[in-house]
């Protein structure tokens, strides 16, 4: 089973540490190359998506992010980035649909796991909001049903997928679709993180550009320079007591 990850390791069973270091280095190199390649290829579409999102934010829209597994925490990360970006960043309204275990377990238990995002988007989503879906396969039923519900409700739909794009691409379920061309779930997630971070920067640039053009912006200007360090209190380094 090691073979799937490290083909040479299965062959002889005498993998050396040096071989593992080289293989790890190769994967790290593949990761950064993929990030740079998708930025170059998808850059113009990313900019168009950022302009649409900036328009939505200016009109009072909220970002709703969702995904499964590792992509669920990546959705939380995207929502957190827009909501509380820290130093110098403008705070924008954003919610992750993956963090409320009461909602998720209620919907999964009482109805079906396929509806965990669709029901939330139907209830929470308003025309002009933004639905941002993260999937590595482009084929997760609950993510796709979420996008369908979002579109019906008049939200701007943004989809991230990998590999060939799956049903998300085949059925054009997102207004703005970004497919990372890789067969590795991990490399796809890594490139998607980069795309989301750069998308966030582009949204801010688009908002700043619109303001320079005299359009009143939504959102709240951050003045606290970030959340600030939590500080090391009584439990801090060297406090000793267990």
């Amino acid at each position: 089973m090691t073979g799937a990850l490290y083909p040479f390791a299965a062959a002889g069973g005498d993998t050396t540490r040096e071989e593992l270091v080289m293989s790890t280095a190769a994967k790290a190199a593949e990761s950064v190359e993929l990030r740079l390649r998708v930025l170059e290829r998808l850059g113009p579409s990313l900019a168009a998506c950022a302009r649409a999102m900036a328009t939505a934010f200016r009109a009072g829209g909220t970002l709703l992010a969702f995904g499964n597994g590792g992509s669920s925490t990546d959705a939380q990360s995207v929502a957190q980035l827009f909501l509380t970006p820290g130093r110098g960043g403008r705070r924008l309204p954003a919610i992750s649909l993956t963090g409320d275990s009461a909602l998720l377990t209620a919907l999964a238990n009482d109805v079906h796991f396929d509806v965990v995002f669709a029901r939330q988007l139907t209830a929470l989503g308003r025309r002009g909001d933004i639905a941002l879906a993260l999937s590595t396969s482009g084929g997760s039923a609950n993510v796709l049903r979420g996008l369908e519900a979002a579109r019906r409700a008049g939200l701007v739909t943004v989809g991230f997928a990998g590999s060939g794009g799956g049903r998300m691409a085949a059925e054009r379920l997102a207004d703005h679709l970004f497919v990372v061309p890789s067969s590795s779930v991990h490399r796809i997630q890594e490139a998607q993180a980069t795309l989301c971070h750069v998308l966030w920067e582009l949204v801010h640039q688009a908002l700043a550009g619109a303001e320079a053009g005299g359009v009143q912006a939504g959102g709240e200007e951050a003045s606290d320079g970030g959340l600030g360090a939590g500080g090391v209190g009584a439990d801090g380094v060297g406090a000793g007591g267990a």
Binding site: L20, L39, H197, V198, G230
Partner: protein, 280 residues
């Protein structure tokens, strides 16, 4: 409009350029990642669990890291025990309200951590809050400690290795880019842990930083030769204190039935055989 498009295209070029150097640095750090994974695999083999923590975007990374280990993306890989200390809003806010935000992770670690466990903490953008205190608590318990830090981290005790066993530095001061490097790092750690669990041969290689051993110190039981030592005290979590003849060290006795007074053969921090009882 054309001007705005030009600005966006230069932002895109600049965003790519900012990622190139940290990306290459991660390639060069492959050996450090392999070293950390090697020690993690040894802990999982001793039934250790992984406890992950971080604040802000790193809280999401802690959750992502935990789900990688508990529910592997590759079918057939075994589920390894891992939890995030950052994603239970009741626990986090409850501790923050009663004891202050600076106690959120260290409190949980003291309650949940065991000596054989692994602490993986994210310290990004100096918003690490309780992460330093959590590492101190984890180390006090005897846990393996691994820090994923950003390139702008100010606290030198994290960077110089006095507080943690392994420091994996994203080498970027931009918290978003650091987070991206961290994601690649923990994906690689997960893969490597399974390689080491499936095929223990590389575990015999030299250069593992066993818990509690300073890299530059002479540590008899971590050396790449099997040495006989004398068990002086059994500790929780399959550990024991041993007399090496040159001093006292802590080793794992999880693989053997060791009693106080036994002479055991130790290889790379792991007792592998009982040679006899009540040796001199």
């Amino acid at each position: 409009m054309a001007e705005a498009e030009g600005e966006m295209s230069s932002l895109l070029e600049e965003a790519a350029a900012r990622r190139a150097a940290p990306g290459r640095a991660l390639v060069r750090d492959a050996g450090l990642i392999v070293g950390a994974a090697l020690d993690m695999a040894a802990r999982f083999r001793r039934d250790g669990r992984l406890l992950a923590f971080g604040a802000g975007a790193s809280a999401a990374d802690a959750g992502h890291l935990a789900v990688e280990f508990t529910h592997p993306v590759i079918v057939g890989k075994r589920a390894l025990p891992a939890i995030s200390l950052a994603n239970d809003a009741s626990a986090v806010s409850g501790i923050a309200v009663s004891r202050g935000y600076g106690a959120v992770f260290s409190t949980q670690l003291r309650m949940l951590g065991r000596p054989e466990d692994i602490a993986v903490g994210f310290a990004v953008e100096d918003r690490c809050g309780d992460v330093l205190g959590a590492f101190a608590a984890a180390r006090q318990l005897g846990m393996l400690t691994i820090a994923l830090v950003d390139g702008a981290l100010m606290d030198r005790t994290l960077v110089d290795g006095t507080l943690v066993d392994h420091v994996l530095d994203a080498r970027s001061g931009d918290p978003r880019i650091a987070g991206e490097a961290h994601m690649t790092t923990y994906h690689l750690l997960w893969e490597l842990v399974h390689v080491f669990l499936d095929d223990p041969a590389p575990l015999d290689g030299p250069g593992t930083a066993a818990s509690g051993c300073a890299a530059d110190a002479t540590c008899v039981t971590c050396a790449d030769t099997a040495v006989p030592v004398h068990v002086t005290e059994l500790r929780p979590g399959g550990l024991a204190l041993v007399d090496t003849g040159g001093g006292t060290e802590e080793v794992s006795v999880a693989l053997i039935e060791a009693r106080v007074g036994d002479t055991v053969l130790v290889h790379a921090g792991e007792a592998i055989a009982v040679l006899g009882g009540d040796a001199p």
